[in-house]
């Protein structure tokens, strides 16, 4: 099969073109550095040709280990006899940043005898501003064919396909010596600069709108106001838009389970289906709406160009903690759910800062912690108000617990970034500000759908497996008669001494251990332990039982601290392993945050006990 390599500078529209030509659905967004993996697909109109989409780079001279990998992949493809040609995408509205890379690509291809087609993308923007573009002149100057196209409107794609087919069909691939074959980088840089001046649009007409909008969005007053309004809306929408769907999923699964389970022949099968399969599926399906909504909103922010502005606004405060402005959206998403946060961290160009962001995300107070916090705060914090009802003690406790998580996240990155200097994987803050664009809805929804599907298939399998194991431990050997006498209960009694320094008995121990699957499981397990059905829906009886069980406030606060820090979420671990391409990182974080959570919880317990006595 003949392969076609697609390269170009970041945000020049490679992935949109790739999607157009292959009919696939690579993520497209108006933010440089979205594609991080090489993707390939067959051309829709020529299935014998395979197109390979590469991450964007500004040059073939890497400045980080990661760029080095991308560049190495590209150079390796030039030696691949199956690669029949290279398509190099340039953004005709921003020639300068594209041309140097293009010349480098033309040179390398000439050395390896691969034909190159330069693709002048975004020609629709020039048309809209009635700007002339001397395609033929630039093609001659570059010494390579140049095809003007618009990946958005589809203009020029037919010609492109034709040329690609011709190139692929040609037997003799050796191209005559190219004028750049022996030109060093320094000269190419100068040439790129000079060509950009000669052929690029004059003046600042293309960036005028962008600058006008920037003076609004980056202004101290209006910019700050808009920033906070967008963040507020984002949270509102995550919680209020997803809530009905989440409820519907729970209700639907419940109904299905009520319908299926009684029809099963054997009691063990009925118990297994109801408690392992259905609750296991429920444990991750309820988060799908949030992941979907959040992905759509992040997509809108990215595609409109606002994301780059938000990164700029948050850069300075985050830098104090060793992060970058590009860490902001991933961390913010982490406040709803760590999974979309981890996905969003892809576009952080500095590998070091991306790693630091991964460290912070699991500490963000995600929504799975909310039911646990609600239960504990209702049980331990008196429902009194201060300042004439203006401040509720419970609300204050909730706020402090949330803030504690954020604080821990920033503390960790601040400390870790200071402990280790790392020059090679770090990249300074240089961000190309993309133009403002109207988001295109279809790709946004499709991307959110793909992300949700990815989550369900990848994390789902693991969660289901763990649920089944925990169910077996809790069900046998006495067939679910009493959790206390099950293997899990026995184990709870064995590890009880571990929880004694927190003032917790074995029942809480078991609840904590099951919640390593997913935090909110804590509430359900504790309900089972106290013999209360449906504790997830109505916490009041459980709150009463906890109060009656004589647990001290010190234990309550210690539990809050524990849940704020510990990484108790199998889905996060699964996705983190995949995205960071390292199982070690997820396991390390799991161990480190587990131990830290335990130690801090013990200290908290001792301290509060001391103060309370």
């Amino acid at each position: 099969m003949s392969k076609i390599v697609l390269v170009g500078s970041p945000n020049s529209g490679k992935s949109l073109l790739f999607n157009r030509l292959t009919g696939l659905q690579q993520k497209v967004a108006n933010f440089p550095g979205i594609t991080v993996d090489v993707a390939s697909g067959k051309l829709a109109h020529a299935p014998d040709l395979e197109l390979v989409d590469y991450p964007g780079t500004y040059s073939l001279q890497p400045i980080s280990g990661e760029e080095q990998v991308a560049v190495a992949q590209f150079t390796a493809s030039l030696d691949d006899p199956n690669v029949s040609q290279v398509l190099c995408v340039i953004d005709v509205t921003r020639l300068e940043k594209s041309l140097y890379f293009t010349l480098q690509v033309i040179r390398e291809c000439a050395r390896h005898g691969k034909p190159v087609i330069v693709i002048g993308n975004m020609i629709d923007v020039l048309h809209r501003h009635a700007i002339e573009f001397d395609t033929a002149g630039l093609a001659v100057a570059l010494g390579a064919p140049l095809l003007p196209i618009s990946a958005r409107s589809g203009e020029g794609l037919d010609t492109l396909l034709e040329t690609v087919r011709e190139n692929a069909g040609r037997q003799d691939n050796s191209i005559d010596g190219n004028q750049w074959s022996d030109t060093p980088d320094v000269l190419l840089r100068g040439t790129a600069h000079q060509l950009a001046r000669q052929f690029g649009p004059r003046g600042d007409i293309l960036v005028r709108t962008q600058s006008r909008l920037d003076s609004f969005f980056l202004h101290t007053g209006t910019g700050g106001l808009i920033f906070f309004s967008i963040m507020f809306l984002l949270f509102q929408s995550i919680f209020t838009w997803s809530a009905p769907v989440m409820d519907a999923i729970e209700a639907g699964l419940g109904a299905l389970s009520n319908w299926v389970v009684p029809a099963l022949p054997h009691q063990i099968m009925r118990d297994f289906t109801a408690d392992a399969i259905f609750s296991g599926i429920g444990a991750f399906l309820v988060f799908v709406p949030q992941i979907f909504v959040l992905t759509v909103i992040i997509g809108i922010l990215e595609d409109s160009g606002y994301m780059a502005r938000a990164a700029l606004i948050c850069h300075r405060p985050l830098r104090i903690f060793g992060l970058t402005g590009k860490s902001f959206i991933p961390m913010l998403s982490g406040v709803a759910c760590a999974i979309p946060g981890i996905y969003a961290a892809r576009s952080i160009d500095s590998p070091r800062k991306r790693l630091l962001t991964y460290l912070a995300i699991p500490l963000m107070p995600c929504s799975a912690r909310l039911p646990v916090y609600t239960l504990l705060i209702a049980a331990f914090i008196p429902n009194t108000t201060a300042l004439g009802g203006l401040i509720g003690l419970q609300g204050l406790a909730m706020f402090l617990t949330y803030f504690f998580g954020l604080f821990c996240g920033l503390l960790v990155t601040g400390l870790v970034s200071r402990m280790s200097e790392d020059r090679f994987t770090d990249v300074p803050f240089v961000l190309e500000m993309p133009p403002y664009r109207m988001p295109s809805w279809k790709p946004l929804l499709r991307n959110a759908w793909n992300r949700s599907k990815h989550f369900v298939t990848k994390a789902g399998a693991i969660i289901l497996a763990v649920t089944v194991v925990i169910w077996i431990l809790g069900y046998f050997p006495n067939y679910g008669a009493s959790l206390g006498d099950s293997w899990l209960g026995t184990f709870g009694h064995i590890v009880e001494p571990l929880f004694a320094p927190l003032g917790l008995d074995w029942r809480y121990g078991v609840a904590i251990m099951t919640s390593f699957l997913a935090r909110e499981v804590f509430v359900g397990t504790l309900g089972t332990m106290f013999g209360i059905e449906g504790a997830e829906e109505n916490m009041v009886p459980l709150v009463d039982s906890i109060q009656v069980s004589g647990l001290s406030i010190a234990s309550g606060v210690a539990l809050l601290v524990f849940f704020a820090i510990a990484l108790m979420c199998v889905s996060t671990m699964a996705i983190l392993s995949r995205e960071s391409r390292s199982n070690v990182l997820a396991l390390k974080l799991f161990a480190a945050y587990g131990i830290a959570a335990y130690i801090l919880a013990v200290l908290t317990y001792q301290l509060v006990s001391l103060l309370a006595s």
Partner: protein, 79 residues
């Protein structure tokens, strides 16, 4: 009079005269690849408050740089 690019205020333009040695070679090259060549005219389009990265326009492309980079680029303000 030479100053750093970071010292530019919104609306001011300057001509790049060089880079200081504190900037790693690879970043210097990357900046040139992006269009920040010596003798090139740069305009500071936005200078948000509280030390946020500033926004610069160079040959029809807009980049935002923070002081860790911009303070090492030397410029001569245009009249």
């Amino acid at each position: 009079m030479t100053q750093s690019l970071w010292a530019l205020r919104a609306g001011e333009s300057a001509r790049i005269t060089g880079y200081d040695n504190a900037l790693a070679e690879s970043y210097r090259i990357r900046l040139m690849e992006l269009g920040f060549h010596v003798n090139e005219e740069v305009t500071c389009v936005q200078s948000p408050s509280l030390g946020a990265p500033k926004v610069f326009r160079v040959s029809n492309t807009v980049f935002s740089l923070d002081d860790e980079v911009a303070s090492h680029i030397l410029v001569e303000p245009s009249a």
